[in-house]
């Protein structure tokens, strides 16, 4: 009887593993099967000359260039907001906060991390409405507001990774500098932060991945299907994940659909690349920093 139960459990676990692996193979395999042949310069630049597209002399109509430019700008801007704020907050939590303050902040950041991205998007949208009504009539959903909303989405990740990277440092590293007369600040800047850097950077890379793949937030805050390369931070823009979403229901012909497959492969590749990079940095950097000392 017991033997039978054991066998069933073992069999079941192998079966689950097989199902999961076949699903992942089906997803990636299907994408590659349908989309690999579209991969090439034409996928990004369409029929436009790549050089003049890059120099913004000509607008690309049938390629992914505007969407990629939009995603790149969006990621850069939101990370630009989130890194200073998130790192500082993480440092405060790890190094300065008292037990009670920390508890309250922990709860709030857990909550922020758990909020569905569409709720953050809705917040960004209502912020736009508010600003439009009370500050300037010129403000509409745009790149700037999207990046701010996205920054709030990734903020808790950056805070957490900074905090954990600092808190995981061994006690003797923490105390040596102080014992030699360094002030708290000096200890933080010259001893703790360099050692925690790997953890912080890998967290930031994961946050970039979230920025690049998120669709719900930008959907509500200014992304559109066709806008060209954004001319200013106050204009509409295109983005890779939204393009994939849009094409999936609105494709007009097989060629557009093929571009959709290409875009999906591209986004998958970008996200996995960031993911791999984060992993490598996390694994290798601490040793380097350590051996230099």
């Amino acid at each position: 009887m017991g033997r039978l139960v054991e066998r069933i459990i073992v069999l079941f676990s192998w079966l689950s593993g097989a199902i999961l692996l076949s699903v992942i193979c089906a997803v990636t395999g299907y994408l590659c099967f349908k989309g690999l042949k579209t991969i090439g310069p034409a996928l990004i630049f369409g029929s436009t000359d790549p050089m003049s597209a890059l120099l913004l002399r000509q607008r690309v109509f049938d390629g992914l260039f505007p969407a990629m430019a939009g995603t790149l700008l969006l990621v850069l801007m939101s990370v630009g907001w989130a890194i200073p704020l998130g790192t500082a907050a993480g440092i405060y939590l790890a190094e300065y906060a008292g037990v009670k303050t920390k508890k309250i902040f922990d709860l709030l950041f857990d909550l922020l991390a758990g909020l569905p991205s569409i709720v953050i998007g809705l917040f960004g949208f209502s912020l736009t409405l508010f600003l439009n009504r009370h500050v300037s009539k010129e403000l509409h959903p745009c790149l700037l507001l999207s990046s701010i909303a996205l920054a709030f989405l990734i903020l808790p990740y950056i805070i957490r990774t900074t905090q954990i990277a600092l808190e995981n440092l061994p006690m003797h590293n923490r105390l040596t500098g102080l014992a030699m007369g360094a002030t708290r600040m000096q200890n933080l800047v010259h001893v703790l932060l360099p050692q925690a850097l790997a953890g912080m950077v890998s967290g930031i890379l994961l946050a970039i991945g979230r920025c690049a793949e998120d669709t719900a937030v930008i959907m509500l805050t200014g992304v559109v299907a066709s806008a060209g390369v954004p001319r200013s931070v106050l204009s509409h823009y295109e983005a890779l994940p939204f393009y994939i979403f849009y094409i999936s229901s609105q494709y007009a012909n097989q060629q557009e659909l093929a571009t959709g497959y290409g875009a999906a492969i591209l986004l998958l590749f970008i996200c996995l690349l960031l993911f791999g990079l984060a992993f490598v940095i996390k694994k290798n950097l601490p040793c380097q920093v350590f051996s230099q000392r």
Partner: protein, 289 residues
């Protein structure tokens, strides 16, 4: 001089933490403020339980709540056994290289963008469901929850493995010394000790399933009705927000999406509190060892 500087920097760090935390509360305040005409006079409950018929002046989000629960709970029904099986495979059944490779694959899966799952779902899963179950367009609760199960499983597997690994090795030595197998060890020692971690994992996965927008928006068909069967089309709270937000900003129809937002916010709060309770229980299990 340095002392003042130090204090200033500390203040700056505190300000950053305060602003970040304040945003969390600010989001809630904003949504309540914008949805206010709908919430005043105790009408919030009425909205949660009435139907969506904008032309008759009824802006209830009941169908969306049922749709959300149906899709995410069904996804959990698929995802839980799958994740449990995979976690057992990774941390109990397989050893060495295979275990490491499997874990790596699962970790990589967490990095796959949601919209890619949705995209593949439309062109691969939907026709499959349509043909196998003869289910209309194929855009239904079942399709969405199958894909959602794939989306949330990797996170759940990693959390399961983590909570199995946290159980101190010394606990099991007695079992193994008495000639028990690894499976017996798992069933009678690891599993009873790891339950708080399992609850944390399931709650987090449920939060992800409820909060996800793209999968349901792309695969569930978005009909405004409480689904009667798994082959019915349904709309979730999240996709409702995505579909209605472009309506006239002053209309009550538009205000209703803030009711969705507030419901999602409150639901998240409950889940986060549950996770904290379970995590505290997990801390106690760890202390015994």
């Amino acid at each position: 001089m340095t002392a003042t500087c130090e204090r200033a920097v500390e203040r700056l760090f505190f300000a950053a933490a305060f602003v970040s935390a304040f945003v969390t509360l600010f989001i809630f305040g904003f949504m309540v403020y914008y949805g206010l005409p709908l919430f005043s006079g105790g009408r919030f409950l009425a909205i949660l339980t009435s139907h969506w018929a904008p032309h008759q002046g009824s802006f209830g989000i009941y169908p969306m709540i049922v749709g959300t629960l149906a899709i995410s709970l069904l996804a959990m029904v698929f995802a839980f056994p799958l994740s449990m099986g995979c976690a057992i495979l990774i941390s109990v059944v397989s050893r060495g290289r295979l275990s490491r490779i499997l874990r790596k694959v699962v970790e990589v899966m967490t990095g796959i963008p949601t919209v890619v799952y949705g995209f593949v779902g439309i062109f691969l899963l939907i026709p499959l469901v349509r043909n196998v179950f003869d289910a209309g367009s194929g855009m239904c609760v079942l399709s969405a929850s199958l894909m959602l199960a794939v989306l949330v499983s990797p996170t759940m597997i990693l959390f399961f493995c983590d909570s199995f690994d946290r159980v101190p090795r010394s606990y099991g030595h007695a079992v193994l010394a008495l000639g028990g197998t690894r499976i017996q060890h798992f069933l009678h020692v690891t599993l009873p000790c790891a339950w708080p971690g399992i609850i944390v994992a399931v709650t987090m996965a449920l939060g992800r399933a409820v909060g996800d927008t793209l999968i349901a928006l792309m695969l569930a068909g978005n009909a405004v009705q409480a689904p009667d069967s798994v082959f019915d089309s349904a709309r979730t709270l999240t996709s409702h927000i995505a579909l209605v937000f472009a309506a006239d900003n002053e209309s009550l129809e538009f205000k209703a999406i803030f009711a969705c937002g507030v419901s999602l916010y409150l639901f998240t709060t409950i889940l986060v509190l549950m996770i904290r309770l379970a995590a505290r229980a997990r801390g106690k299990v760890g202390q015994v060892g």
